[in-house]
């Protein structure tokens, strides 16, 4: 039966079940092979495309690996100084309240140099969405230790593993901002498997919908891999992330509808 189906019969426009969204440009992504940034970019753009917000969206690109996000996302973008994406997003959202505004930040940007901006934007309850890509390392500059680096994890500035006595504890930004009254929806997701990608897409959609309700800040953390920084192959780094990152950064909703989820 299968022998009767030719490639020409399958490759027709009406048979397409998945195609890259037109809101991603045709530029080749500048990320390393297997990096979760590309998937995260695409999910955000797919949600904006499905919700028909492409002309109503302004994104803020951070400093870090995703500094060139405006090259890949085919919506209006602004590039912020290091860590200052929440300040830009606040200004843009206040001046143009009808626009959908999102800040896209990495962990070195959001959890290190931009901690003050992040916490105060969350505390003020600004009506924008923050996407926080957490890979536990400074990827762009060569794999240095970030505030989110796991205890004992090796990086180029902690070659014997992160020592908690001298280097401090990793910071769980998502749990931290969930405590603040200004946030309405706080969740942690991943993009390493098809199931995780589908869940992350639902969370991103919910975050954008909450922004339209004008009830407070929505915060989506995406735990991602950095295979170059971790010195692993892409698939190996995804498995390493499952084994080591997820016990410390458990996936799931942390705050829904302005209420913290009770941990069992």
């Amino acid at each position: 039966m299968d022998g009767t189906i030719t490639k020409e019969a399958i490759f027709k426009p009406e048979n397409i079940v998945y195609k890259k969204t037109s809101l991603m440009t045709d530029n080749i992504l500048s990320y390393c092979p297997g990096c979760g940034h590309g998937t995260a970019h695409r999910l955000i753009m797919e949600v904006i495309d499905e919700m028909g917000l492409e002309s109503e969206t302004i994104g803020i690109a951070p400093v870090g690996c995703s500094v060139l996000a405006y090259e890949f996302m085919n919506v209006d973008m602004q590039q912020a100084a290091h860590g200052r994406a929440p300040a830009h997003a606040t200004a843009i959202k206040r001046l143009m309240p009808h626009k959908t505004v999102f800040a896209y930040q990495g962990d070195g940007d959001l959890a290190a140099i931009g901690t003050a901006e992040t916490i105060h934007a969350c505390n003020r309850g600004e009506n924008f969405t923050t996407f926080f890509i957490n890979n536990g390392i400074y990827g762009m500059t060569g794999g240095q230790m970030a505030p989110t680096t796991l205890p004992g994890m090796k990086s180029s500035t902690s070659p014997y593993g992160r020592d908690l006595k001298s280097m401090g504890h990793p910071i769980k930004m998502t749990e931290l901002v969930a405590q603040l009254p200004g946030t309405y929806y706080v969740t942690r997701q991943a993009v390493h498997t098809p199931a995780a990608v589908r869940k992350a897409k639902k969370a991103i959609r919910k975050a954008i919908e909450i922004q339209q309700m004008n009830v407070g800040l929505s915060f989506v953390e995406i735990v991602s891999n950095c295979n170059s920084g971790w010195k692993m192959a892409p698939v190996q780094s995804n498995h390493w992330m499952e084994e080591n990152m997820f016990p410390f950064y458990p996936l799931g909703d942390i705050k829904v509808d302005g209420k913290l989820i009770e941990k069992k």
């Binding site: 039966m1 998945y18 297997g34 098809p194």
Partner: protein, 73 residues
């Protein structure tokens, strides 16, 4: 039950050969090519003709290089 047959089209010049799709494919129908693209990466291909058009490879692909087609047989 209606059977489905799928197939994929890969933008071989943009594929970076990360193999995340191979890990995600439930029918193990995709594999890396012997050839390399302009950037020197091996790219993924539908080799064993067992594709069901489930779109798993396309939604985990970080570079969004895969277009999935599916028909009912």
């Amino acid at each position: 039950m209606a059977k489905v047959k799928g197939d994929i089209v890969v933008d071989t010049e943009k594929c970076k050969g990360c193999e995340v799709c191979i890990d995600a494919c439930p029918t193990h129908t995709i594999a890396m090519s012997e050839d390399v693209n302009g950037k020197g990466y091996h790219y993924m291909q539908n080799i064993y003709d067992a594709c069901t058009g489930c779109t798993n490879c396309a939604i985990v692909c970080p570079d969004g290089v895969i277009t999935v087609y599916r028909i009912k047989v």
